[in-house]
Amino acid sequence: MSLIEIHDLKVHYPIRSGFWNRVTDSVKAVDGISFNIEAGETYGLVGESGSGKSTTGKSVVGLEKVTSGQIIYQGQDITRPATRRRLHYNQDVQMIFQDSLSSLNPRKRIEDIIAEPLRNFDHLSKDDEKLRVLQLLDIVGLDADALYKYPHQFSGGQRQRIGVARAVATNPKLIIADEPVSALDLSVQAQVLNFMKQIQQEFGISYLFISHDLGVVRHMCNNIAIMHKGRLVELGTREDIYHHPLHLYTKRLLAAIPETNVNQRVAHRATRQAVERAYQDQQTRYYDADGAPFPLVAVSPTHFVALPADFAKSLAHAEEEVQA
């Protein structure tokens, strides 16, 4: 059984207006996505800005009111706050935020920040709690003097690690990492990514790794989902996505990644422009009449794409031939 199963998740933000605050319209931030998260694996969620990645992540961790659909954890639907409370859900599912500064309360000391989930879930004695915090600091590579300092006294990388320490404090099974490194410099980013991988191995944590940086995602994730307009357009292993992308949108994303190989940049630019042109021309084939992605169909046990079944098959076929 999967750790978490997401069924047809929808999050629509009502647009209210007027004096009576009535719902006049809605933003379909997430519009019916389903996937499972297995224990110990890392899932990447990729897509352009506004595609609904953060909303998905927040729904899974319980920060967002879900419009419809289910999130099944231990056989129960945790979209209801009462269920989450009863299961101590957030003890097992935690989150790392993009902006390390804003995610740490600037008026709280590091000790209080890291101990917050412990106080709510574990109810340790004062000394045990302090010990646990010190151990956590140790694990994320910070000195004990950090204990009574405030977040602004740390660098971005250190802060992000404090955020990680808080997320792992309760020994969670799943951590939602919403763009954890996109605000960081390269070398600091490397530091945090390494570190996340390391604790994953040590604790057997699953990640839902949200990012728009395909380079980072490739580095981190075994399974990747591509999101567009609130839906998934393609889902598969790293191999499936990077080497056999089927959906045009995925191809376009991949083509847009800047290439560090200087020698081939002219060629790369040409491919990208070709893909872009193709994307502009063939929109109608890859999206339904409303311009929304189709439902996912399987092209292999691990690989799904949001296309009409026959079209998907033929594409997969063509792909194989090219590979061959």
Partner: protein, 316 residues
């Protein structure tokens, strides 16, 4: 499961006290200390602080030695005694009552009203703003409608009407009447900051840490707008000292036997008093200005201190 963490870290219970001590030595100074050092760095601020604290203490203590009903007795013989005379070094008013004594008791009353008003209205305004800002949706909507309604009320008029309705009103009822209206400014300020604050990720982090909503509002968000609260409260206090003066001037202030800065300043209503009997109103007016300026100045210092503590990346 906790053992997983134990396994991963070399730190054990034995190290606890040592590490804790290490951490203490590196601890960041508290906000109070920062504010104090900010004061120390600013001479005029110290002066303002000394003026305010000294003055309030003096007024509170000295007024204990004054028999107010006795002081407010008409003394026909001292009618408009000029200042610097033997009995009344600040002179006497049209009923022969000592201005100096009235100033002391009046200051106590006015400061008392200001304090009471500030405490009540700020507490209410802060709570209102926090709750309204944190819970969006119908709670906020409803609270906003109430707020709009209160804003629509012509405050001064309603206060005057209330004052005429209430039969045995005194400093306390007056404070309560003012409190009905004075929370509005604070609540709007706090609400807008809370809205911004509630959007920040640390609130989301607290939610995912399982902290309950009220605790998030009052122990996570509130400390973050504390500088705003401190500054706003200080400035309201400065403003509130003069709050009853207007009413007294129009003749709807405290009862005549309860001296206040307002009733003293209201002496200026009679143009004859302006120059001829200047001592009946000028000291009170000057006092208000000095108090208000000093407190505003302190407010500025607090604002600066608050900013400094928020200065990012600077290990203070």
């Amino acid at each position: 499961m906790p053992n997983k963490i134990d396994q991963q870290s070399s730190i054990s219970a034995a190290d606890l006290t040592r590490l804790n001590q290490e951490a203490q030595s590196e601890a960041t100074p508290s906000t109070a200390r920062i504010i104090w050092s900010e004061f120390k760095a600013d001479r005029p601020a110290i002066v303002a602080l000394v003026i305010i604290v000294g003055f309030i203490l003096f007024v509170m203590l000295a007024s204990l030695f004054i028999d107010t009903p006795r002081m407010m007795e008409t003394n026909i013989m001292n009618y408009f005694n000029p200042p610097f005379s033997a009995q009344d070094w600040l002179g006497a008013d049209s009923a022969g009552r000592s201005i100096a004594q009235q100033l002391i008791v009046g200051s106590r009353n006015s400061i008392g009203i200001a304090l009471g008003l500030t405490v009540i209205s700020s507490t209410f305004g802060i709570a209102w703003g926090l709750i309204s800002g944190y819970f969006n949706g119908y709670v906020d909507w409803g609270m906003q409608r109430v707020y709009d309604f209160m804003m629509m009320l012509p405050m001064l008029m309603i206060i005057i009407v209330l004052v005429t309705i209430i039969p045995h009103y005194n400093a306390i009822t007056l404070t309560l009447i003012f409190s009905l209206f004075y929370w509005e400014g604070t609540s709007r300020l706090i609400r807008s900051r809370t809205l911004a604050e509630a959007d920040k990720d640390y609130v989301a982090a607290s939610i995912t840490s399982g902290t309950n909503q009220w605790k998030i509002i009052f122990s996570q968000i509130m400390p973050n707008i504390s500088s705003l609260i401190i500054v706003d409260t200080t400035l309201s206090f400065a403003e509130n000292i003069g709050v009853e003066t207007g009413l007294s001037f129009l003749g709807f202030g405290l009862p005549s036997q309860t001296p206040s800065l307002g009733t003293l300043i209201a002496n200026a209503n009679d143009p004859n008093n302006i120059t001829q009997y200047w001592w009946t109103w000028l000291p009170a007016a000057l006092e208000i200005i000095v108090l208000c300026l000093s407190i505003s100045y302190i407010g500025q210092v607090l604002r600066r201190a608050a900013d400094a503590s928020q200065r990012q990346g600077l290990t203070s």
